[in-house]
Structures are given as C-alpha cells and as structure tokens.
C-alpha cells in the first residue's frame, strides 16, 4: 500500500523534521523582518512632528478609495489594470498564504475551501501572469521608466528580481497544490477541488501520471521554496521599490488632506515663536517630517509624477520621482540595517542641487498623479525654507524679494501707484473705489501685484471691475494699502516675509469691513482661501461670472465665427482648488463660442511656467513650459487660449511669440473675454 504524502510539518527534510525546520525558518524570517523594520522606522522617530491622526473617518474613506479602490491607477490604463489585478490578487491571497505558512509547523490546519479556495486559485494565477507581464514591461520599458544619467542608474535588475520572486512564490504555491491534488487522485483519496483553468489546476492535470514519490518530493520541495521565497521577499522588500507593499496602507491613510495649503514651518510652533527657532526648513534628512520620510519609502518608482511634471518635460534639473528616490537611497545609506546611523549632512549640495529645488513651479501635477498620494510641494517648500534660511537664494529672486519687503510688490513700484490702473476706466463705465472711512462696500476686489502694476495685466483688472459693476456688485479695492498676497513668497520659502504680508493684508481687509472677497488672480485666491486666516470668504472671478450669468445679470453678445477656443486650467484655480467647471460654464454660455479641450486639461493641466516669483527665476531649461502649452493648444485645433490667471497670460503671450505663432494664436483672459462680449 502506498503511503499518503506527508504534510510538510510531518515530513523529514535531510534528516530534519519538517516542523522544526519550518519553525526555525519562520522565526528567523520574522526576527529578520522585525529587525529590518525597526531599523527602517528609526529615522521616522528622529523626523519632525507631523500631526496626521485627525479626521479618522475622512482618512478611512480615502484609504478605501485610493488604496483598496486603487482609484488613480487606471489613469495609466495598461500599468494601472495590471496593478489593480495583482493588488486584488494579493488581498485575496493574504488568508490563503497565512494558512499555507501555518502548514509548516502545525498539524494540518483546514485550508479554507469552497468559494474562497477557488478564488485564491485564480488569484495565484492572475498574480503569476501579471508578474510575467510586469517583467516584460520592465525589459521593454515605457519611456517613463528610463533613468537619466544625472539621476543615477536604473534599478531594472532589482525590479525584475523582486517581480520574479513573486512569480516563484505563486509558482511554488501552485506546484504545491497541484502535486497534492495529483497524489490524492492517484491514491483515490478525496481530491481538493481546484478551480478550472487556474495554474494549480493546470499543474495538477500535468502531474496526474507522475510517479507518486516524485509527486511527494515536488510537493515538499515546492513548500520549502515557497517558505524560503516568502521570507526572503519579506526581508528584501524594505531595501527597494517594493517596500510600498508594506508601507502604502499607512502612506495613504496618513496622506495630506488639505490641498492648496502649505505645511507650517514647524508643526506646533506658533508663528510668533518662529524667530526663536534656530534653523528653518529642511537642511538635513532629519528635518523632514516622519510622514515625508514614509513617503520616500513608499514610492514605487512608477515614474508617473515625472511623466506629468512640466519642469521635467522642459529639461529643468528636476524630476519629482528622483527627488524621492534620491532621498530614499540617502536614508538607506545613512540609516543602514547593519551599523549605526550617520546623519547630519546638508541635502542640498549632496543629493540635491539648488537649481533642482528652485525649478519647481508648485503646479501640483505630480501630486495629482501619484497613486500612493506621495507629497512633493511641502517638501520642496521646506527645502527652499532651508535654503532661504542659509541665505542661498538665487540672485534673480533677491531683488523681487527685497522689493516685496520694502514696497509690498515684487516690481519695486511705488505703493501710491498701486491703484493707477483704475484711472483708465471711463468714469461712466464703472468706478472701482478705494475702500476707506468714506467708502464702504460689501465686496472687496483683491487685485494683487501683477494686475495692479503690469501694463498688460491691468486690462484684466479693468475687465474684472467692469464685470463686477455690470452685475451690480457693491465692491471696492484696497488701493495703495493692498500689498502682495505673498502666495508665492511662501511657496518660495520666505515664510517670515510672507507672514508680514499676510498680517498686513489681513488687517487691511478686516478694517475695510467687507463681507466677501473676489479676485481675478488664482494665486491670490489660493492664498486668501488657504494661507490667510479669519478673512471673509473668497471667490475667483470665474465663479462669480458663472453665477452672475446663470442669474441673468450678465448677458453676452455672440462671438465672431471662425475662432476655436480652448481653456487652459491655471494650476491654482484647477488642481489646487478644484475649480474646473465654472470657467468652462462661462465659456459655454457665450453664444456661438466653439470650444475644444486640450490633451492635457483639468487635473492634468500643463503649467504655463509658473506665477509669482517663478516669473523672476531664471531656470536652466531646454524650452519654455509655455511654448509646450501653446503647441498643445494648436494640436487641439484651437487658435484662442483662454486662461483665468494673469501669470498664465504673461507666460502664454511670451510663449506665442517665442514659438513664432503670432497671428495664428492669441491668448485672452476669461474676464477680458466676458467683458468684451457683455451687452450691458
């Protein structure tokens, strides 16, 4: 009589009892994993404070959406679907794998059967196939996987090893089950049902006629391979791009909730005490918050951030992907698994260059794309704060910063000329009065520097004032008292100057007694909405216009035929504040207006080149972002680019000239367009 094949726990491997062998493997594997994790967590405890334990229900909801629901994955369809399948497979296999591991050390536990067994058979199969496809993709490499020489070497071999290990895990699992079922069949024992068409099922059928001793060896060998591969993978993942398997749950749960905002310089330190803080911003690795360190661990190196990054697209020395990868490599080097931590080196000058840190326009394309919700803008701003604190500010930015300090605008223009743009409005058309003791109004039009002083952008100011007037809005301006909103002063790392500008404007706004604020500048809009505290609610003029048109307060003449319009989403209106529909509603309400969408629109909008201080920064780049953008508009078949931000206007009009598209393409602000078409 042939003996039934023995379960791994009762088998003998080279004179060692299976249970003892697997007990040792389990304990060694778990102890190694615990040691490695402790070492990986160590820098997080040395990182800065970062309160991420609030609003648990919101966080849970986002966990279900972005982690369990893999919400952002289909944005890259092929890779996304593969990932969704293997993620689902992994989730299914958690229980299965638990039971399988337990088999090594205990009397045969009852592996879950029935429907779950069938699903896990398919899950093993799907994960195995996905790994095969993923390995091929790593070899064929979509363009975004490439590693430019300046960012180091590609980790292709490592990535393939990790994928292959998972494939081996799945194969071993399937062989184990297939061999077991085949031997049961040969011995006329009750056969564990295997899902038709699954990998274990295929293997069982292939092994049906194999000799029983061979089956027994295959069965036990597969189990050993599975066990070793499992623990090797568990302990190897924290050294590379698959670490996100362990960390993603936490990264997504603790992800930043409030878009459009910038983290405080130090959590828990009130503004008034910032002067006492010795060093501002991120200079060394330990200046990052624990969550930002966790982000570094969680990056899966998928390259979507950099694929979307406009700075990367025009050849600036910045790639969000490598901002993370370089920090992770740094952390692995300086907080090693074996040996003691050695930290304290300045990051800029070592792994980062100054130009890299200043190259970001804070457009947020990377953050809108990352499936793991890794944050970039706060890190860039923190690194800039560190540079500013050390006096390392590019010469091109020092003059505008100084002018912001002394004159309240980056151009160094006189304060008393801040409301001069109003003078060109015909008296009967509208009056934009300065709010003071004599003049009070319900609504404040916050103009901000570029619209107030730049000859071209003043037209946007006048159009906005005319629209507010036409819609019977009781409004006024702060005039010479207004200072720059400081939006980009903050994002360029000069927190102290930003606070001075914010405090000044807050005081002036409160004194004016207004109940609402309207602005035509998305940067001011974002600042007033997210950076300022205790100011009245703020609206962008596009939102105001959409409402006024719906209420019939503004009526428009038809546009001339022959023009094709496209709307360019300003980053601080769209991505950072979700205002996508109001400007489009305004455009679609213009009689006869033909509108097309660009390939990159809404949350994938392509930054024009950046606003605020970004206008003054002189980057190293192959071409202008704006040039790429006007080319996208032309590709879409448009000959008029409509935007809703004065900085976009600067960049678009420059880009049209640089691209040699004068006469073929024009740019107009949404407010200018509406004012041009108004019947009243």
């Amino acid at each position: 009589m042939v003996e039934a094949i023995q379960p791994p726990a009762q088998a003998t491997y080279w004179f060692v009892h299976g249970r003892l062998l697997f007990l040792i493997v389990d304990l060694l594997g778990l102890a190694s994993f615990a040691w490695i994790m402790a070492k990986r967590l160590a820098p997080l405890f040395r990182g800065q404070r970062d309160p991420r334990f609030d609003r648990p229900l919101v966080r849970l909801g986002r966990l279900l959406k972005f982690w369990l629901g893999q919400w952002r994955h289909p944005r890259y369809l092929a890779a996304g679907l593969i990932h969704i399948l293997l993620f689902a497979g992994f989730i299914v296999l958690v229980v299965h794998t638990g039971f399988l591991l337990a088999l090594g050390t205990s009397e045969r536990p009852n592996m879950p059967g029935g429907v779950y067994a069938a699903i896990s058979d398919y899950a093993v199969t799907v994960v195995f196939l996905c790994m095969m496809i993923a390995i091929v993709r790593r070899l064929l490499k979509p363009a975004r996987y490439a590693v430019p020489a300046r960012y180091g070497k590609a980790h292709t071999a490592d990535a393939i090893l990790l994928l292959a290990l998972i494939a081996i895990l799945m194969a071993a699992d399937s062989i184990f089950e297939g061999a077991q079922a085949a031997s049961q069949w040969q011995q006329r024992l009750p056969v564990d049902a295997l899902a038709i068409g699954s990998l274990p099922w295929v293997l069982r059928n292939a092994l049906l006629s194999a000799p029983l001793p061979a089956l027994a060896n295959l069965y036990l060998g597969a189990y050993l391979v599975h066990e070793l591969a499992f623990f090797f993978l568990l302990c190897y993942r924290p050294f590379g791009i698959q670490f996100h398997v362990e960390t993603s749950l936490f990264t997504v749960y603790f992800a930043k909730l409030d878009r459009g905002t910038i983290k405080p310089v130090r959590w828990g330190v009130p503004d008034a005490q910032l002067d006492q803080v010795k060093s501002l911003g991120v200079k060394t690795f330990e200046d990052f918050t624990w969550k930002h360190m966790l982000d570094f661990y969680s990056c899966a190196d998928c390259g979507r951030c950099s694929d979307q990054c406009p700075a990367n697209a025009v050849g600036r020395p910045l790639s969000p992907r490598f901002l993370t990868i370089k920090a992770r490599d740094y952390s692995f080097r300086h907080f090693p698994v074996f040996g003691s931590a050695h930290n304290g080196h300045a990051l800029v000058g070592d792994i980062y260059s100054e130009d890299e840190i200043w190259s970001c326009t804070t457009c947020g394309a990377c953050e809108a794309e990352c499936p793991l919700l890794v944050e970039y803008i706060d890190k860039i701003v923190d690194l800039r704060r560190g540079l500013v604190d050390d006096g390392k500010v590019p010469q091109s930015l020092q003059k505008p910063l100084k002018a912001l300090e002394t004159r309240g605008n980056p151009f160094g223009k006189m304060e008393k000329k801040r409301a001069d743009w109003v003078k060109a409005i015909p008296q009967q058309a509208c009056s934009a009065q300065t709010l003071n003791g004599d003049h009070r109004a319900e609504t404040l039009y916050f103009v901000d520097s570029i619209t107030a002083y730049d000859d071209r952008m003043q037209a946007i100011g006048r159009a906005t004032a005319r629209i507010l007037h036409a819609a019977d809005e009781n409004f006024g301006i702060l005039g010479a008292v207004e200072k720059d909103s400081g939006h980009d002063v903050r994002r360029f790392g000069e927190e102290t100057l930003f606070m001075a500008l914010r405090d000044h404007n807050t005081e002036a706004i409160k004194e004016s007694g207004v109940k609402r604020i309207v602005t035509s500048d998305p940067h001011a809009f974002n600042a007033l909405k997210h950076d300022y505290r205790d100011v009245p609610p703020v609206e962008h003029i596009s939102q105001f216009m959409a409402r006024a048109m719906a209420d019939g307060k503004i009526r428009l003449n038809p546009v001339e035929s022959g023009q094709v319009y496209t709307y360019h989403d300003p980053c601080y209106l769209g991505r950072h504040n979700g205002v996508y529909d109001a400007p489009r509603a305004v455009l679609d309400a213009v009689p006869g207006l033909q509108r097309v969408e660009m390939r990159r629109s809404r949350d994938r909008s392509f930054c024009c080149g950046g606003g605020g201080l970004a206008l003054f920064y002189e980057p190293t780049e192959n071409e202008r972002m704006g040039v790429k953008r006007v080319q996208m508009a032309a590709e879409a078949g448009a000959n008029v680019i409509v935007t809703a931000c004065p900085f976009c206007m600067v960049n678009m009009e420059d880009a049209i000239k640089v691209a040699g598209m004068e006469g073929k393409m024009t740019a107009i602000d949404l407010a200018e367009l509406v004012e041009r078409q108004m019947t009243n």
Binding site: K392, V393, L397, L401, K402, A403, R407, K416, L497
Partner: protein, 261 residues
C-alpha cells in the same frame, strides 16, 4: 584676518522714481533705502574670505540713526560687529571728510584689510582711494577677485577696459574697492534682521575718534549745488521694412555711431 567693510545707505535705485522738489533737491519722502549694492558685495566678499581663512568682519558707516538699518542687515548677513560713526559735526562732509572720519576709525583698530564698494549709487567713487592715501596703504580699485596668498599678501584681479582682467599682488594692510559681480551675495530676510535687532551697535562721535579738520560742512571743498534730471529722449527709433532691409539699416546706423568698424 580682521576685515573692515565701509558701507553706505542709499536710495534703492531699482525701487524708486527720482523726482526733484521745488528746492532743487531730491524728493525723499517716499524713497526706500538699502545698503549700497557694491558695498553689499564687499561684505559678502569679506565673509567668504573669513569662511576660508578665519577672522572677523566689521561693518562701519558714517551717518545718523536711520543708517543703523543697513548695519543690522549686514550683521544679519554674518558680520560679527557693526559701528556707526555719527556726529552733528560730520554733517555736510565731502568725500575727503568722509575718508578722514573713516581713517580716524581705522587707526583705532587693527584691520588688515579694508573693503569699500567701488562707488555708492549716489556717490563719486572717491572715498576708497582717499582713505588709502590717508592711511598710507596700498590701494586697488574695481577688484573682481581676491585670493589670500599668505605672507601678508593678496592676489587680486581688477576689471580693466573691455571686460579684461589684470592680476595684481598687493601687500596687506590695504584698501580695496570692490566691483559688483565679484560674488553672489547671500540673501538676508526679515527673520535674520530681527534676530540681530537687539545686538548693540556702538556709536562713535568726533571726540571718540579724534577726527582731523577735514570733516564737516565748513571743511568741505566740494559742495553740491543742484540736481538735474535729464529730460526723456525721443525714445526708440523703430526700423521698418523687410528683415533684410531692417538688418541693412541697423548696420548702417551702428557704423554711423561708431559701434561697428
């Protein structure tokens, strides 16, 4: 090395519109001031020398209480100490008078290297040279790089016509006037200035310094009579025609004005 930098507070040319009032003087009510640009480069250069070879940087200015703000800014940049030379008797000094006040201060210390800006935005570029003469020190102007050689010598380069450079060796102690562009001055924000807001700045007067008779209005031999704002010119001349025509006209114009040979 103990380095002294002489700095001046001037109206910031990039942030002001110069207008004359009825008295023929500049309307100063709404001017904003900053440290003279070339002096700021001099302070940065001094700080970089000290970072490389050790020592201290002291910044000095001649003026009134309002001039303290530039001293604070330079201290926020990294200068160890600042001194204000202020006395009613200094008012109305000409360049020679200012140089005499500074020379009196220098003699009270042990400075090996004295830097000034190449000239002040509202000045005449004369103080550095006269200061060197009064101290009987070697002087070099328009300095665009400094290298400490040791043995009490510096290797410096000076800007000469056409962007060319002349390399010199100069003995310490000496006075150098620093050209803009010699380095990239570090940024100083409000935070830095606030952090040195309570550091005391000693003020020295005529009696403390023992200034000779050159200081003050009475001793001045150069006196400002008036300011003159040139009338705006015709503006740009726009060349019209095809691209080739425009190029031909431009070349003719450049030749006519001596820009091309």
């Amino acid at each position: 090395m103990e380095i002294l930098v002489c700095a001046k507070r001037v109206p910031d040319t990039s942030e002001n519109e110069i207008e004359l009032n009825g008295d023929g003087d500049i309307d100063r009510d709404e001017l904003v001031y900053s440290v003279n640009e070339a002096d700021n480069y001099a302070v940065e250069e001094a700080l970089e020398i000290v970072e490389r070879t050790g020592g201290t940087v002291t910044v000095v200015t001649v003026g009134g209480d309002e001039d303290e703000e530039i001293l604070r800014r330079e201290m926020a940049m990294g200068a160890r100490q600042a001194v204000l030379l202020s006395d009613d008797a200094f008012n109305g000094s000409d360049g020679r008078g200012i140089a005499a006040i500074l020379a009196a201060f220098v003699k009270k210390g042990h400075y090996e290297l004295i830097l000034t800006g190449v000239q002040a935005d509202d000045g005449a570029g004369q103080v550095g040279g006269m200061l060197a003469a009064m101290l009987d020190c070697p002087f070099a102007s328009l300095v665009t790089s400094i290298e400490v050689l040791g043995g009490g010598k510096l290797k410096i380069s000076r800007e000469i016509e056409g962007g060319n450079k002349e390399i010199n060796e100069i003995d310490l102690p000496c006075v150098l006037s620093i050209q803009t562009g010699i380095n990239e001055p570090r940024y100083v924000g409000m935070r830095g200035i606030r952090q040195v807001a309570s550091v005391p700045i000693p003020t020295l007067g005529k009696a403390d310094l023992g200034v000779n008779g050159y200081a003050g209005e009475a001793a001045a031999r150069v006196k400002r009579m008036d300011y003159f704002v040139p009338p705006a010119g015709k503006g740009a001349e726009m060349l019209t025609g095809s691209q080739d025509e425009v190029i031909a006209k431009l070349i003719d114009l450049l030749k006519a004005k001596g820009g091309l040979q």
